[in-house]
Structure formats: C-alpha cells, structure tokens
Amino acid sequence: MEATSSELSAPENGVINKIRVFFSRIPVLGWLCGALAAVLLEQVVGRQLALSIGLPKIPALFGFTIILKYPVLIPSAFLYVFIIYLLPVIVVARFCLTPANWLAGKLMNISMQGSVLIHLVLLYAVLQIWAEVSDYRDITLKFTLIAIMVTVSLNVINGYMGEFSCSHPGFMALGAYTTSVFTVSLFVNDSQFGQALLPSYMGPFFFPLGLILGGCVASLGALLVAIPSFRTRGDYLAIISLAFMFIVKSLIENLEFVGGPRGLSSQPNWANLPTVFAWTVICIWIINNFVRSIIGKALNAVRDDETAANAMTIDTRRTKMTAFMFAAFWAGVAGGLFAHVLRYVNPSTFGIQKLAEVLAMVYFGGLNSVYGSILGAVSLSMLSEALRPLELFKWIVIPLMLILVMIYRPTGLIAFKEFDVKKLIRPKPNPGDEV
C-alpha cells in the first residue's frame, strides 16, 4: 500500500506532505527490513518490555485485544506498539533508504525472479518470526493466508467475470473433504478409515498431491454451476450457485463414511506456516497471471457485455467454464489447507456464515483487483480476531464498517487495480528525479 503513494507526490509544502514524500521514497525492501528488525526486537526484548510496562504478556495482535479488554492498559499497549513496531520500522526503513534503493535496483537489473524470491524470503522471515511468539498468532496467520486464497479466487468470478457466485463455500467443502479423506485414509490410523496404508513419513510429500486432488474435485463440482451459467446469469446464477452450496453441504451431511454432520477429524498436522505461505504465494502468482492473461481480459469482456464479447470472437462458454473451474480449484486447495490447519472439518462450517464472510472480504477489498482481495482478506480476518473481546458487538461493528465502505466506495477499497509485482518491488528514486 505504501508503494502506491509515490504516484501521489505533489509538489506541495506542509508537514504532512513532507512526511508522505519521505515515506514514498522507501522501497518495499526497506519496509521489509524494518519489519524484520521489529519482529527480531520483539523476539529479543518483547517479553521483558511487556512485563516492565505492566502488560500481562506480549500483545498478540498489536495490542487490540488488550486495549478492548483492559482500558487501564491502553497507554502501555500504545507504548509497546510504538517501541516494538513503529519505531524500529520507521528508523530502519529510514536508515536503509539509500542502500535498500541501491540494492533493489541492482537486484532488478540482475534478475527479476531472484529479486522477487528475495522479497518473498524476507516476507516469510518476518511472518515466521512474528508468528513464533505464540500459537495464537501462528493459527491466526494461517487462517488469514487461507482467507487470502479464497478471496482472490472468488474475485476471479465475482470481480473479474462479474457474476454473483455464492458457491465458494461449497467448493471449499469439496476440497476440504477430498483432501482430508485422502490424507486420513492413507496416512492415519483412525476409526473411520482403518489402518494407514502408507508410512506417515511419506505424508508431507503426498500432501500437495492431496491438495491438488481436492482442487480438482472442486473444479469438477464447479461444472455443475458453470454449465447452467451458459444460459443464464445474474440473479439466476446466484441462485444456482447458492443451491449448489446447499446441495454440497447437505450431501456431506448425508455421507456417513466421512462422518456426516459430526464432521471428520484427526487430519495430520502438515499444514504448517511454510506450507500455507508457499501455497498462498503460488495461488496469488498463478491467479495474478491468469487475470492478466488473454483469458483474464476475456473475463472482463464477458462481464461488461456478453453479446459484444461473443461478437469479438470470444468463446464465452469456454471462458466462463475456465473461470469457474479455475477459481473452484483454488477454493478447493484453500479448503484442503483449512481442514488441515483446523484438523477438523464439519459440513456446517461451509454454510451461509462462511459465504457472508467471503463475500464481505471480496467486496470490502475491491472488485477486479488482487491487491483489493489481499487487503480485504487480511483486514477483515485480522479485525474479526482483534475485535474478539467485544463479543457480540463485533457483529455490529464489522457490518457497520462494511456498510459504510459500500456506501462511500461501492466497488470496494482498492478496486480495478492491477497487481504489478515489478512496480511493487522497484526502487523508489527521489521524487525530483522521477519527472
């Protein structure tokens, strides 16, 4: 998000503008170094600092929970966030400014892929060190990453293709159950499927296979929604996809061999942070390439005017089918990961509640934009964790916020913006040099 502000640098005076110009010169590499410094600092002195300023433990999510639960501790929580996160990030990013810009430029010149890889490794390091502090952070982070996958893939249908599809929880359920059945029946001794067929050390190698299998089953299920979509769209398609979701849920509830309404448990613990992170990165990468490819442009054409798109030699049927199956595949993979993070699945997880959550993330973040989906998924899942102490009122605060966003920005916060990795990681020269 910081990356976008460089375009806005107008030659104005004033403190706010100066600050903005100052920040706009920091490349992503610099921010990542700052974040790394902050999480390392937390690792080293976080506990002592938290205890010495009166906090019971390291604040799990930037102090939100503590602020809402114990108003007396608000100053301490703010102090903690300032000392541990804000200060190091800003200071390191500021002092890294010149070397980071230089390094980013050099890396870009040597190899684009290498540069992206280094950024990703840094990002992963930040997340890993941040999550090591507590299991709660670890699991929140994993769910957030999975939410990103689901949201980005739903954006392919709802944003890029402009249909109102309600079937994503159904695809997730298909993926979750397929992957779970695959792993549990092959690698776990349990009462449902009997003895393990393969030794468990082979499991982590087969896990990606299971996820892909789950994704494939989900895309086969997507055919059930995609084929009716040839003849109809809009509200009827919404209903077809909704019916599909209910059918999947009801089907799983009636399948006794996967546990029926009781759900399926004892999934092996293979969905650790690196796995989930890797899958999320792959998912974003492939989806981003997909929506920027010719098929992605065809999706936009179908959204804007189906008849005209057809006249322009776009095979609308194939386009719709591809989009549905593709999005469903990633929803299925996300569902498989979800099942293995939670290590329990239950058909009622994939109901209207999940649907409202995913739709809210897509429309909050922004249609037709990968940035928007990432922002929507991260902010809503973090918010719903951070506001947990509000209990019931969380479900008034979050919907109200969404309503306001819808009223003032009907297409979402960052809509119709291309996710350009090259633009994101390039060095930020002086605003003066740029013109």
Binding site: N158, G162, F164, L224, I227, P228, R231, T232, R233, G234, D235, Y236, A238, I239, I240, L242, A243, F244, F246, I247, K249, S250, L251, E253, N254, R303, I352, A356, L359, A360, Y363, F364, L367, L392, F393, W395, I396, P399, L400, L402, I403, M406, I407, P410, T411
Partner: protein, 307 residues
C-alpha cells in the same frame, strides 16, 4: 390417501410462510432490481416484534382486567406488528439501499447481508441466546375430516395468508399507488420523470414487503411457538430461492413458487429420510432452473439490468 392429504395440509401451511416472505423479495426486486438480503432477518424481527406486542397486550389486559378474547389479541398483534415492522423495512431501505441506488447491485447485496447480521446481533443481544416461546393466543382445536387432522390454526394460517395475498393483488392492480408501483417496475428511469417519486414508492414497497414478512413471522410463531434469532437465515434464503423460482419480480410467480417449495420440502420429507430434505429440494430447484433459466413467470435477461 389420508396420509397424502395430511401432508398436503402441512405443505399448504409451510408454503404460505415461504410465499409471504418471497412476496417481499419479489416486490422489492420489481421496483429496484435488487434483492433485499435483509428480508429474512426482517421476518425474524417481525416475529420478535409480534412476540413483544402479544406479550404486551396480554400484560395490559391482565393489568386493567379486560377480558380480551384470544382471537382479538391475535388480530391486534398481527396488525400492530405489521405496522411496526413496516417502519423497520423503510428504515432498512433508507439506510442500506437508497444511498446505493446507482452503485453496482452486488454492493447493495452486501449491505443487505450486513444489515441482516446487525439485526440478528441486536435481537441476540436484547433477547439472549435462549429461544423464546411465542404466547399461545388461541386454543388449538383439531378437526378430523375423513382421517385427516386439521387444526384451526392451520386453517387460520392458510386463510389469513391467502387473504393478505389477495389484498396485495387488489392493491397492486386496482389502487393508484399500485399503479405507480407497476409503472415503476416497468421503467424506473422514465416514470420518476412523470412525477412519481421513486423514493416514496421504494419506501412503500419495503414497508409492504416487511409487513408481510412480519405477518409470516407471527403466523410462524402461532404454528411453531419457538423463536430464535437465526430463524431468519433458513427461511430467508429459502424464500429467496422461491422468489427466483417464480421469476424475479413476478408477484404471482413468487406466491406459486413459495407454495411449490413448501410442497417439495414436505413431500420429500414424507418419502425420503428427512435429512435428505435440503439435498433433494435444492436439486429439484437446480433442475428447474437449468430447464427454465428464468423461472416460471420471469422474462429473459435484459439490458435493463445493471451489473
């Protein structure tokens, strides 16, 4: 045969709930071209308002020592709650839909969903998590007609629903306001230029739809006297399915499809194990939509629809 007729009676009762709620979806759709996803929760709030009004009336009657007959209490409850819930409908329209009239339709769908969640939370907060029992206002009398057991409540529910549907039909076809509504449904761009206020018509549509939902809520409370804050979700989405199945914006279609959905659900539960009810009912819906993609009375997708 008696078994079949027994289920037919149940299906009529079940279908009238769906039909009453589906009417609200369909009317709003015909005017504004969008579905009010908060409608299921308006139905739920309507049932709770009915509960509040009925309890209040019973308390007043006992305080002032008035012998209020049960049927009169019920009539008063229905009318008062419908009146009160219509304000809720207008409020939802004013807050959630009017600012978004020119926005993409999906955004309005999101606001609707979110208003629904807020309504659920408010009820959950005000009434607690435990279910509340709807006061029984009239006594159940069971008639045995050739082996079929019919209660007076079932007759009352079906009769009242049909009466209100007929009244709605007359209102839309005969009155000036109804004519304005039909005109607005025909073209919501030109008709406002003719001096019909779209805001007033939209507010009225929401008010009528919400009061019908409140009626459904109270009748549901009479038939199954247990209310919980999440009952709007199940009923709302099923009625939404019925509204689409009937053909969007078609009042007649919504009524018929509401009853049809009731029949499908009851008869599926009669023949198959009841856990398969949703599976088979939705599969039938899916099949119907594959072969009749625009519902029973709907028109094909037209350029009039905004994204």
């Amino acid at each position: 045969m008696a078994f079949f007729l027994q289920n037919l009676v149940n299906a009529l009762q079940w279908g009238s709930f769906y039909a009453l709620i589906a009417l609200g979806y369909s009317m709003v759709y015909s005017i504004l071209m969008l579905f009010n996803f908060a409608h299921g929760d308006i139905f739920m709030v309507g049932a709770y308002i009915g509960f509040g009004v009925a309890t209040g009336l019973l308390v007043i009657a006992s305080q002032w020592a008035i012998a209020l007959p049960g049927w009169l209490t019920l009539v008063l409850t229905i009318l008062l709650s419908m009146f009160l819930t219509s304000f809720l409908g207008m409020f939802v329209e004013r807050v959630g839909y009017r600012p978004l009239r020119d926005a993409p339709r999906a955004s309005a769908a999101i606001t609707g969903l979110m208003i629904g969640i807020i309504l659920e939370t408010i009820i959950l907060w005000g009434m607690g998590t435990q279910r509340v029992g709807f006061p029984s206002l009239i006594e159940t009398v069971t008639f045995n007609v050739g082996g079929v057991y019919i209660t007076n409540k079932k007759i009352m529910i079906v009769a009242v629903s049909l009466a209100f549907m007929l009244a709605l039909h007359l209102f839309i076809t005969k009155s000036r306001w109804g004519m304005a509504m039909r005109a607005m449904a025909f073209d919501f761009v030109v008709v406002p230029l003719m001096g019909v206020s779209i805001n007033r018509i939209a507010a009225m549509t929401f008010a009528i739809g919400s009061s019908l939902a409140a009626l459904a809520g109270i009748l549901f409370g009479v038939a199954y006297p247990v209310l919980d804050p999440y009952m709007g979700i199940v009923f709302g989405w099923k009625a939404f399915v019925a509204a689409i199945l009937g053909g969007r914006g078609s009042i007649m279609g919504a009524t018929l499809a509401g009853f049809l959905l009731g029949f499908i659900e009851i008869f599926v539960a009669m023949i198959f194990p009841s856990t398969l009810r949703d599976l088979i009912a939705y599969s039938i819906v899916l099949l119907i939509l594959v072969f009749r993609p625009y519902g029973f009375f709907g028109e094909p997708y037209s350029a009039k629809l905004r994204l």
